[in-house]
């Protein structure tokens, strides 16, 4: 097994198999980390055709990730059937509709598609789309309908935005909006997140006159309620007396999005998928944002303290400390129980745009070392920190994503915190606003950081380091397990979870302890295949063939 010191050579070996042009490109995305002097990593660039990537498409990011968890907005896929089918409840987003009429809508269990056929491709699909919108409206009377474009839509010239405008007008009480999220746009699902969030910002956020009421009002951005994570966080906030206005977009409603302009702080979980919304909300409504991380018990405590520091209320600070103390006793007990099995073991994480970073905290709590990590669809700032944003080269793919120009809303803008107060909190309490320092500062020197890890590179990493747990998704799971390494899915949580907050940490400890305790890997290969001796032990003569117990 290799040590971190061999990583330089491992990198060369990996690149060796590629043709020169591919090797030159991949070289920039495979970096040996140095937390002292963060090296530059190439990220958010096109996957080379034929390199088997784990990335999805723009449609997947838009419809599947961001809008997927919204239960009272009908998601209508405009395209042939496959895309709608594959994004139908695939991401395990959970939701809790109300029990009373009017709040009990839940369209997440439905898959709506225009199911385009040959003639629609030839003659255009707008007519069919209008009918589909009308059908969905007549059947369910939703507050809003989102139309999601698949690859052929842009090509055949269907204007989903025009259809949306027309239908909004025609229906009267239903907000219809379109998304130009054709699969080929952008380099990964990250482009789809941006397209989704831009449209939410334009068409939904701040559209309500309703305000969130409460003393300490926050929004949680970039939390999609996989496996019930958002439920855990909702409980924690409630215990602390913090009012959660809207979560983008786990367990959310249209009205919560609309009134989210009235919260006093935006807390960002997944920086990648939504940081631009936080920026825009600050400019338009005056809401400051901070980065939080509720993956890991220690990180959850830290994030709660940050929120309390922001509001500055002693009452809130005290309550937060009480909650942390209360929750930590169960966490410590669970951790003590599994530590003997997990301590000293190793992990690799290649997932998401924030999870490969956040989950390192949980592994640290388990006494496990992260040997290598990287994102599937992250950008440079998710690795190196927001300070590099001004230096990120804008390529054709990024230029194609609309940048909204935003200014202060004449009625709804309200600067929540003075510049002086902000500076004081940063200085005295270490509370950083509008900042995310990225994944690399946290990782050890010499560890490998790889963006858009390919299937082949993954194989080489595993051969070299044989980690005790590999964290990725279902596409990698069975390939990795064929190599004798258990894989923890961090997209779907292996259908377990929740893993957020304190209760989630306890779940994660148990699940990882379970994974590293599997006996199956020792059973691979029959003894005679391994050359072990097979001399049978015969029963000695005179001894009974079967020993009877009394």
């Amino acid at each position: 097994m290799s040590s971190l010191a061999d990583n330089e050579k491992l990198k060369d070996d990996i690149l060796d198999i590629y043709p020169a042009k591919v090797a030159r490109k991949r070289k920039k995305s495979i970096v040996l980390n140095d937390p002292g002097e963060i090296p530059e990593i190439q990220a958010n660039v096109r996957t080379i055709p034929g390199i088997i990537t784990q990335r999805g498409c723009s449609y997947a990011g838009c419809k599947g990730v961001v809008l997927g968890p919204t239960r009272d907005i009908i998601n209508l896929t405009h395209g042939p059937i496959g895309c709608g089918f594959y994004s139908w409840l695939t991401r395990r987003n959970q939701t809790r509709p109300g029990t009373e009429a009017g709040s009990d809508e839940n369209f997440m269990t439905y898959c709506f598609s225009t199911d385009m056929q040959d003639p629609n491709i030839v003659f255009g699909g707008e007519k069919k789309l209008k009918k589909a919108v009308k059908e969905a409206y007549d059947t369910f009377h939703p507050k809003a309908i989102g139309i999601f474009s698949t690859c052929p839509v842009g090509l055949i010239g269907d204007d989903v935005h025009a259809v949306a405008r027309e239908m909004t007008e025609e229906l009267g009480d239903c907000n219809v909006f379109g998304f130009s999220c054709e699969g080929y746009k952008g380099v990964s699902q990250s482009a789809g997140h941006h397209i989704a969030n831009n449209q939410l910002f334009k068409h939904v956020i701040g559209k309500g006159e309703e305000k969130t009421e409460g003393e300490f009002k926050i929004n949680l951005l970039g939390e999609y309620n996989i496996g019930g994570d958002a439920f855990v966080l909702e409980d924690i906030f409630e215990k602390c007396g913090i009012t959660l206005g809207a979560t983008f977009s786990g367990n959310s409603t249209y009205d919560q999005f609309a009134s989210s302009y009235s919260a006093d702080l935006n807390c960002i979980m997944c920086h990648r998928s939504i940081n631009y919304v936080a920026e825009m909300m600050e400019e338009k409504y005056g809401i400051p944002w901070i980065k939080v991380n509720f993956i890991g018990a220690e990180s959850s405590a830290k994030s709660l303290r940050k929120i309390a520091d922001y509001f500055g209320s002693q009452k809130l600070k005290d309550r937060v400390e009480e909650v942390i103390a209360e929750e930590m006793s169960a966490v410590s007990a669970a951790r003590d129980e599994v530590l003997p099995r997990t301590e000293g073991k190793s992990a690799m994480l290649f997932v998401g745009g924030s999870r490969a970073h956040h989950y390192q905290d949980l592994f640290t709590e388990l006494g496990m070392k992260t040997l290598a990590a990287g994102y599937e669809f992250g950008h440079r700032d998710d690795y190196e920190g927001r300070r590099v944003i001004p230096n990120i080269k804008i390529d054709a793919d990024s230029r194609n994503i609309e940048e909204l120009s935003v200014s202060a809303d004449p009625d709804k803008y309200n600067q929540r915190i003075t510049d002086e107060e902000r500076a004081r909190l940063t200085e005295e309490r270490g509370l950083e606003f509008s900042d995310y320092e990225g994944l690399m500062p946290q990782m050890e020197e010499g560890t490998l950081v790889i963006d858009d890890l390919s299937h082949y590179e993954m194989e080489e990493l595993i051969k070299a380091h044989k980690p005790d747990v590999f964290c990725a998704g279902i596409k990698e799971k069975y390939a990795v397990q064929k190599m004798g390494v258990p894989l923890k899915q961090l997209h779907s949580y292996d259908y377990g979870g929740p893993y957020a907050g304190f209760a989630g940490a306890v779940n994660f400890y148990k699940d990882i302890a379970l994974m590293v305790s599997s006996r199956v890997w020792g059973l691979v290969g029959a003894p005679w295949e391994k050359g072990e001796s097979l001399s049978p032990v015969y029963v000695e003569s005179g001894a009974p063939a079967v020993t009877m117990t009394e």
Partner: protein, 471 residues
């Protein structure tokens, strides 16, 4: 909300079908040393991988030519060439299967030509098999059958297609074919790895060699490995496909598609390889028919062991009769699975009162009508094509069946209505061992029968206030 049940409805609500490139990927996964490349956006490959992997629980690598916006404008030739060369260099495959997607078809890429030109440029390349599979022209079933057809028509025989091998190779193949057991080609719909193993086993027991295309029995249901393989072992070898025209005969099982997409029909037309067609061997009648044909072609009798299986199955039918007779069942999924299960449930005395598929193409309904099975109940069964779960749900609530048989996507209806769901077909995402489910042959029918009886017994027991312990 599709055409069949509510005529005015245009859109699909909770569809009961997937797309063409999924079927193509499935077929290519059954070729030895093959990596599929989907020509279009990378999302297609990603979605199909994650979907198939969660059903089979096996590694499934599918590459993509990763279109971007400039590709869309200038065409995908360069991307495809790059994709093929990168897959070739990384994986050293024997075959690269290239399936088109909605995107490349909409912009009008001529993939057949791209492949011809690339072959000329790179003579050392492995076998390339292109197939046209835009999702707006069909479902996973059409995608699967088109791909199998494309594999055979590109590879089998000496004088068709440039990948068919030299004359010498063909002579070798002929010698090889003569020296071994009589070979039989098998073309099946999308059945499980375990059922494919059964076909191979019974053909061997009848002194024949089964050339099954595609053969996913190892590639999509393999063991743990001592050493890592970039491409999972198993699958039909290219050489075997090349020699398919030399086989004794072809057997098309459960072929419901028009002749144009039938590889057996094609082999017969071009090479005179006789082709026999029968339904999937499901149930006693279906399996009897299968063995009759098999023993005629191979000139051997059905072994005692198989007859004993048949006898055991008859016995189980008799024992199960009281649990099954007249029980109302709804069957859904792809056309060939539904057609087979319609025959099977009718044979065991159930009442398949409503069958539906998402496939639009006028396939299922005529196939079931052709069977001329007298209905168990007075009311004729309702057979719907181009039907989605949104429509089906109303009908199910109305007809109150005792059992649903189909893929995992019917779970929501099952949960809401309390009607038990027996999972079969594709996709199965919420039960274990989908690849090992059996349906074919007497032994497969027995496994299926046991499962059906048990799920009904379990329901009866769970619903009972008394809590019977004998049922």
């Amino acid at each position: 909300m599709s055409g069949a049940a509510a005529e005015n409805y245009q859109a699909a609500g909770n569809p009961c079908r997937q797309c063409m490139p999924l079927g193509a990927s499935w077929a290519f996964k059954g070729i030895e040393g093959c990596i599929p490349v989907l020509h279009g956006s990378q999302g297609c490959a990603t979605y199909i991988r994650r979907f198939m992997i969660s059903h089979f629980r096996e590694p499934i690598d599918i590459a993509s030519s990763s279109f971007d916006e400039t590709t869309v404008i200038f065409g995908g030739q360069e991307n495809l060439e790059q994709a093929v060369m990168n897959v070739f260099n990384q994986y050293k495959p024997e075959v690269i299967g290239i399936a088109t997607t909605c995107l490349s078809e909409t912009i009008g890429d001529d993939v057949e030509r791209f492949v011809r030109e690339l072959r000329m440029k790179e003579p050392g390349l492995c076998t390339l098999i292109p197939v046209s599979t835009p999702s707006y022209q069909g479902t996973q079933e059409e995608g699967f059958h088109r791909t199998v057809f494309s594999i055979v028509s590109h590879l089998a025989g000496a004088d068709v297609g440039s990948d068919a091998g030299s004359e010498n190779e063909q002579n070798d193949l002929e010698e090889q074919a003569e020296s071994s057991l009589p070979a039989l080609n098998f073309f099946l719909p999308m059945v499980t790895p375990a059922d494919i193993r059964w076909i191979r086993k019974v053909t061997a027991a009848m002194k024949g060699e089964a050339l099954i295309l595609p053969d996913i029995s190892d590639t999509l249901d393999g063991g743990l490995w001592n050493e890592y393989n970039a491409i999972p072992p198993g699958g039909t070898s290219v050489d075997h496909v090349r020699s398919m025209h030399l086989s004794e005969a072809s057997m098309e099982l459960g072929a419901l598609l028009p002749d144009d997409w039938r590889p057996g029909y094609w082999l017969q037309k071009h090479y005179g390889t006789p082709t026999l067609s029968c339904g999937l061997p499901v149930g006693i009648d279906g399996t009897d028919h299968f063995f009759k044909i098999l023993s005629e072609i191979l000139g051997s009798s059905v072994p005692q062991e198989i007859l004993e299986e048949r006898n055991r199955l008859c016995d189980a039918y008799a024992d199960a009769h009281k649990y099954l007779y007249g029980k109302k069942v709804v069957i859904y999924g792809d056309s060939s699975t539904v057609e087979s299960l319609y025959r099977f449930t009718s044979e065991i005395g159930m009442n398949p009162l409503f069958c539906f598929t998402g496939s639009p193409g006028g396939i299922l309904k005529p196939a079931i009508e052709k069977l001329e099975i007298p209905p168990v109940a007075d009311e004729a069964p309702l057979i719907l094509e181009d039907c989605d779960f949104a429509d089906a749900e109303d009908i199910i609530e109305d007809r109150k069946p005792d059992l649903l048989i189909g893929n995992s996507k019917g779970y929501k209806i099952s949960r809401r209505t309390g009607i038990p769901l027996l999972r079969t077909g594709f996709p199965i995402h919420d039960r274990f061992g989908a690849s090992r489910q059996r349906m074919l042959g007497y032994s497969g029918a027995l496994e299926l029968l046991d499962r059906i009886v048990n799920i009904l017994m379990e329901k009866k027991q769970d619903d009972s206030e008394v809590g019977y312990t004998y049922l």
